[in-house]
Amino acid sequence: MVNLEVLNPVADAKPEKIELAPKQPDLSGKTVGLFFNQKPGGDILLEHTAELVKQRYSGIKFKNYLGAVGHIMRHATAEQADTISKECDAVIGSTAD
């Protein structure tokens, strides 16, 4: 028998850990952001999602956001993420795929 020893080609990924944000047990009266990255169909999906969620929680409000930069796919800048996090208690996002 022979042994062939080779080196592993796979690199480790940079270790980083972000904690999940606490959930919002009750969305009544809360403001929910709808983040759209502009991929076709995502806007329809978000609009109808908001209608459906609204039926379950009284006083819930929605705010629409379109990614600040990009083209067919638009992304949030850090400034926009700051704004959304100040204005919203939760966010629903759509990339359409």
Partner: protein, 447 residues
């Protein structure tokens, strides 16, 4: 979504079933171990509005749960990290080699072709091709922020069939990928067939026999160096950047261009300055340029004897509307807000020497060629723009165009969006690459 979670705001993301692994792997790459998803059976793109609304109805509980219910513990066991040294025992070395290739296929570490064995001896020899320390971190390679040490790059270069003298080119290509202007994450994970083309300029091209002439893009023994250098970059994207098919490479169909693409510029038959000199480097320096493209087509013209006639034919390629880049500028630019980068999409012409001579003999330089293509590569606004909402978001000052649907507009944003590199043998046919983003050039041996 990760940026929101980081700021303390709970999120849920709509995702198509095929993209669940991608969404989870992307979240993990940014340090988030779990992400709340609401799953649709298919993407919303290309679906009628009624169907999209029904998908929202069907999965609305997942949206509510994602925002309101405590996250489930991390699912499943975390796979044990494979050892840094892998052993394959067999009756003889050939059988052990086959076992290694089978194991690497099973792990997803292969591009599908047989791999050379990255033995210690082979990797040590490969490392002799660079003065960089084996532990030096060249970059954190997206999409997974893999730690791209010189040693990991060398291991993959061995697997691709590279020789030690090829390693500096490979390392520089990785440095190009890591430049924020490359927007590598977009190129790597997209549903499009984004493939990196490596262009080598300067003395090293001849030193390493990187083919610039007949069959430069392969296949064949004459393009051995081209083939293995290009192949190594794909393996590095997979095994260092974790850009694995179906996980962080969501290409709809894939493309043969993603296996390997590398050429040298044919500086002998280039009537103008070499490409790297145009881009600010000395003629005697050696450089690597990486340009992602969606695909390519033939630029055949055996009849033309004037620049004007050639331009007429060339200008049909950028206006092909199945290419994302045609008219994309009307909807904005490719951007990466993390690095405050936005770039124009560039197309690339590998100009054959015969055509280059026609241009040069008539006194045309590359700027004049670029300008002429830009002026001739036009399509009506109604075909170039995809959606008025996109135009409104990116260029509200151009909304007047909606009343002029037949106004002819350029396919790309500006003349400098056409890059020209002289490649190939004597005969009148080049190649046109529908490009994605801007090319990035780096000097070989630079930090």
């Amino acid at each position: 979504m990760v940026e929101m979670e980081k700021r303390g705001v709970p999120t849920v993301a709509w995702t198509a079933e095929r993209f669940i692994h991608d969404a989870q792997a992307s979240a993990r790459a940014y340090g988030l171990s779990r992400i709340a998803l609401a799953v649709m059976p298919t993407p919303a793109t290309n679906e009628p509005a009624d169907r999209i609304r029904q998908m929202a109805v069907d999965s609305i509980d997942q949206v509510i749960d994602g925002l309101t219910q405590p996250a489930l513990p991390e699912a499943g066991m975390v796979a044990a990290k494979p050892s840094e040294v892998l052993k394959f025992q067999a009756e003889d070395l050939l059988e052990a080699f086959e076992k290694m290739n089978t194991a690497f296929l099973d792990e997803g570490w292969s591009d599908g072709f047989p791999l050379m064995a990255p033995t210690r001896r082979a990797v040590e020899h490969m490392l002799s091709g660079t003065s960089f320390d084996r532990g030096k971190v060249i970059c954190l390679l997206e999409p997974a922020f893999g730690i791209a040490t010189v040693e990991k790059i060398a291991i993959n270069a061995v697997m691709a069939g590279c020789r030690a003298e090829h390693l500096p080119v490979v390392i520089t290509a990785v440095q190009c990928l890591a430049d924020p202007k490359m927007i590598l994450r977009n190129m790597a994970v997209s549903t499009g067939p984004h493939a990196p083309l490596i262009i080598v300029n300067g003395p090293i091209a001849k030193e390493l026999n990187i083919n610039a002439k007949c069959c430069a893009l392969g296949p064949g023994s004459v393009s051995y160096a081209n083939t293995v250098i290009g192949r190594s970059l794909r393996l590095i994207m997979m095994n260092v950047g974790h850009c694995y098919p179906g996980v962080l490479d969501m290409d709809t169909i894939g493309s043969p261009t993603k296996y390997s693409m590398c050429v040298a510029e044919n500086e002998d038959d280039n009537p103008w300055q070499p490409f790297h000199v145009e881009r600010g480097y000395d003629k005697d320096m050696s450089t690597v340029t990486v340009h992602f493209s969606y695909g390519l087509c033939d630029l055949e013209d055996f009849h033309s004897t004037t620049p004007e006639s050639l331009i007429e034919r060339y200008a049909t390629a950028p206006t092909y509307l199945g290419h994302l880049g045609a008219g994309l500028w009307l909807g904005g630019r490719r951007s990466d807000p993390r690095y405050h980068v936005d770039v124009k999409d560039h197309d690339l012409i590998l100009l054959c020497p015969d055509h280059a001579r026609i241009f040069a003999n008539h006194g045309w330089d590359k700027d004049k060629i670029r300008q002429a293509i830009h002026e001739h590569a036009l399509s009506p606004f109604r075909l170039l723009h995809r959606d008025m909402k996109m135009v409104k978001a990116a260029h509200p000052e151009l909304m007047w165009l909606k009343d002029h649907p037949d106004l002819m507009l350029p396919a790309l944003e500006t003349p400098d969006c056409y890059d020209i590199v002289v490649v190939g043998a004597d005969v009148g046919r080049g190649l046109f690459f529908w490009g994605a983003g801007e090319p990035v050039t780096k000097p070989i041996g630079g930090e």
